[in-house]
C-alpha cells in the first residue's frame, strides 16, 4: 500500500529537498497510523475517478477524435480565456486583497463577504446574475447595447468575464491571507527609510508574497480552466466562439461519449502540466 515514490525519497535523505528544511520535520512512513490511513483514503478518493477516466479512454481512436476542428478550437479558447482571466484577476484582485488586508473602511466585512460569494454560489446562478447585469437587457448591458450596439454575451469577452467572476475570489482570498500573515516590520522599515508607499508596496510587500501570488494565480487559472456553469449561461455555447473545453465535454456527453472522455483527458493533461510545473519551480523549498 505504501507509495513507492515516498519510499525512495526516504531512502536517500541527503538528496531530498524536504529534509533540508528545518522548519518542516519529516515524519517517517507509518508514524501516526491514523493520519496515514485517512490520508491514503483521501488520496484514493481523488485517484480512483481519474483512473476510471483513463480506463474509459478510447486510446486507439484518440488520435482521430482529437483531430476534429472543434477540439482545437475549444482548446485554443480555453487556454486564451483561462490565462486572460488569471491575468485580469491578478490586476484587480491584488489591489482588492491589499485593501481588505491593510485598510479599514466602512463596509469592509461586507466587501469581503461579497468577494467570497462566487465561491459559494452555483456557477449557473452566477451566469444568470451576469446576464442580468451585462446581458443585452441587463442593467449595464442594455445601456451598452442601446448606445453602441455591442452585445457582450456570445463573445469571448463574455467567456473571460464569466471566468474572472468565478476565479478572482480564489486569488483574493489567497493574497489577503498572505498579506495578513506577512511580517509588517519590513514595510515599516522601508517606509521609515523614506520609501514612498507605492514603492513600499512594489518593492517590499509584493516581492515578499510571491509564493502566495503564484499560488493564487494558479488557483484562479485552474478554476477558470474548468469553469462551466457561468460560461454556458452567460456566454452561450458556440464552437469556435464561446465553446471552451468544459462546454465541449458537456455537449459531447449528450452525443459522443468517446469524444467527451478524450476532451476531459486534454483538460486534465493541461491542468497537470501547468500545476506540476508551478509546484516544481515556485513552491519547492
Amino acid at each position: 500500500m505504501r507509495p513507492r515514490t515516498d519510499t525512495s525519497r526516504n531512502s536517500k535523505p541527503g538528496s531530498s529537498r524536504w529534509s533540508r528544511n528545518p522548519k518542516r520535520p519529516i515524519a517517517p512512513i507509518g508514524t501516526v497510523p491514523l493520519l496515514w490511513l485517512f490520508g491514503l483514503i483521501a488520496t484514493l478518493f481523488f485517484l480512483l475517478p481519474f483512473l476510471a477516466l483513463l480506463w474509459q479512454t478510447p486510446w486507439s481512436e484518440l488520435d482521430t477524435l482529437l483531430r476534429r476542428p472543434m477540439v482545437a478550437q475549444a482548446l485554443r479558447l480555453s487556454v486564451i480565456s483561462s490565462f486572460a482571466a488569471a491575468l485580469i484577476s491578478t490586476i484587480f484582485g491584488v489591489p482588492l486583497a491589499w485593501l481588505l488586508a491593510r485598510s479599514v473602511f466602512p463596509g469592509r466585512t461586507l466587501v469581503r463577504a461579497l468577494v467570497t460569494m462566487p465561491l459559494v454560489l452555483p456557477p449557473v446562478v452566477g451566469g444568470v446574475a451576469l446576464l442580468f447585469a451585462f446581458g443585452r437587457r441587463g442593467v449595464v448591458g442594455e445601456a451598452l447595447y442601446e448606445s453602441t450596439g455591442v452585445v457582450l454575451p456570445y463573445s469571448i469577452w463574455a467567456v473571460i468575464l464569466a471566468n474572472v467572476f468565478v476565479a478572482m475570489p480564489f486569488l483574493v482570498v489567497t493574497i489577503e491571507a498572505a498579506l495578513a500573515n506577512m511580517d509588517g516590520r519590513l514595510e515599516l522599515a522601508a517606509s521609515t527609510l523614506g520609501a514612498s508607499s507605492w514603492r513600499v508596496f512594489w518593492r517590499v510587500t509584493l516581492p515578499s508574497i510571491v509564493p502566495s501570488l503564484v499560488a493564487g494565480m494558479a488557483l484562479a487559472w485552474a478554476r477558470a480552466l474548468g469553469e462551466f456553469g457561468a460560461t454556458i449561461t452567460f456566454a452561450g455555447n458556440l464552437s469556435g466562439r464561446t465553446q471552451t473545453l468544459p462546454l465541449a465535454v458537456f455537449v459531447a456527453m449528450e452525443s459522443d461519449r468517446d469524444l467527451a472522455v478524450a476532451l476531459s483527458l486534454i483538460l486534465m493533461v493541461i491542468a497537470l502540466a501547468v500545476l506540476v510545473a508551478l509546484r516544481g519551480h515556485w513552491w519547492a523549498r
Binding site: 446576464l131 437587457r137 449561461t233 452561450g236 464552437s239 464561446t242 455537449v251 456527453m253 449528450e254 452525443s255
Partner: protein, 251 residues
C-alpha cells in the same frame, strides 16, 4: 498505539455496516428519468398520478435525453425512461436495457419562439438568415438541436448562430429574457413560458413533429410501481394533461 488500532477497527466496522443496510423497500419512490422538455408536463402528471395511486410515489431526474441514456447505461437506478426522441430509446432497447413495449405517449411540434409581440417581425424560417437577429438553436446531439437542423437543412436555410444551447429550456429562457431574438423550440416550451414568449406558426407538416417514447427500465428497482406509472402515462387521463401543456397525443 493501541487506541489508534481501536479507532481503525471502529471506522472499518462503520463502513462495512453502512454498506450492508442499503436495500430497496416498498415505499421508496419510483425514479423517472425524463427529458428536460417534459419538466412541466410531468410535474402536473405527478400530482394527478399520486392522487389516483396514493400507494406509489414518483420522483424525477430531468436532463437531456442523451445524458439520461448515458446514465442508465452506466447503471443508474432508473425505473422509467421517457425520451424526447426515438434514437436514444432505441440505443437502450437494442441492448435490452429497457423492456418492451416502448410506447410513444406524446408528440411535440417545433416552432419559432420570439419575444411577446414579435418586435422583430419574424414570420418564417427564412427570417433566421437575417443578420440583424440573435439566433439560437439547441446544440447538435440533443433532440431539439437535431430536429431543428433537419428542418433547416430541408429548407435550405443556414442561419448565423449566436449560441447553441445545451437544452431546449435554456434556449427558450434566453428568448424569454430577450437575450436572443429567435430560436427553434418546442410548442410545449412556448406554452410554458407564455405570455413572455410567443410562437410563430409553422407549416402543418409532419417534419416538424417529434415523438416521445417511454419504457420501463430492465433493471428497475421498483418494477411494480414503474409499470403502474407507465400505464398511467399512456392513459387518456394523462393524455388530457399532456395536451394542456402543448403536447399532441397519439390517437
Amino acid at each position: 498505539m493501541k487506541r489508534g488500532k481501536i479507532y481503525i477497527l471502529l471506522v472499518v466496522f462503520a463502513v462495512l455496516s453502512s454498506a450492508c443496510t442499503s436495500s430497496s423497500s416498498e415505499d421508496e419512490p419510483v425514479l423517472v428519468f425524463a427529458a428536460a422538455s417534459l419538466t412541466d408536463a410531468f410535474a402536473s402528471l405527478q400530482e394527478d398520478f399520486e392522487l389516483a395511486h396514493p400507494e406509489v410515489r414518483v420522483e424525477f431526474n430531468f436532463a437531456g435525453s442523451g445524458l439520461l441514456r448515458e446514465q442508465i447505461s452506466q447503471g443508474a437506478p432508473a425505473d422509467i425512461f421517457a425520451s424526447a426522441d426515438l434514437g436514444n430509446m432505441e440505443t437502450l432497447s437494442s441492448v435490452g436495457l429497457v423492456v418492451d413495449p416502448v410506447q410513444v405517449f406524446a408528440l411535440n411540434r417545433m416552432a419559432l419562439a420570439v419575444s411577446a409581440g414579435n418586435p422583430k417581425a419574424i414570420t418564417s424560417l427564412v427570417d433566421l438568415e437575417r443578420d440583424d437577429l440573435l439566433v439560437g438553436l439547441c446544440t447538435a446531439g440533443v433532440p431539439c438541436g437535431d430536429l431543428a437542423r433537419r428542418l433547416l437543412v430541408g429548407a435550405g436555410i443556414s442561419p448565423r448562430l449566436a449560441t447553441e444551447e445545451p437544452n431546449v429550456r435554456a434556449l427558450a429562457n434566453k428568448i424569454a429574457l430577450d437575450e436572443l431574438d429567435v430560436g427553434l423550440v418546442y410548442v410545449t416550451d412556448i406554452v410554458a413560458l407564455a405570455p413572455v414568449i410567443e410562437g410563430v406558426e409553422m407549416p402543418d407538416d409532419d417534419n416538424f413533429t417529434t415523438p416521445y417514447p417511454i419504457a420501463v427500465v430492465k433493471d428497475a428497482p421498483h418494477r411494480q410501481g414503474a409499470e403502474t406509472f407507465f400505464d398511467y402515462v399512456n392513459s387518456n387521463r394523462a393524455a388530457q394533461i399532456l395536451e394542456e401543456h402543448g403536447f399532441q397525443t397519439p390517437k
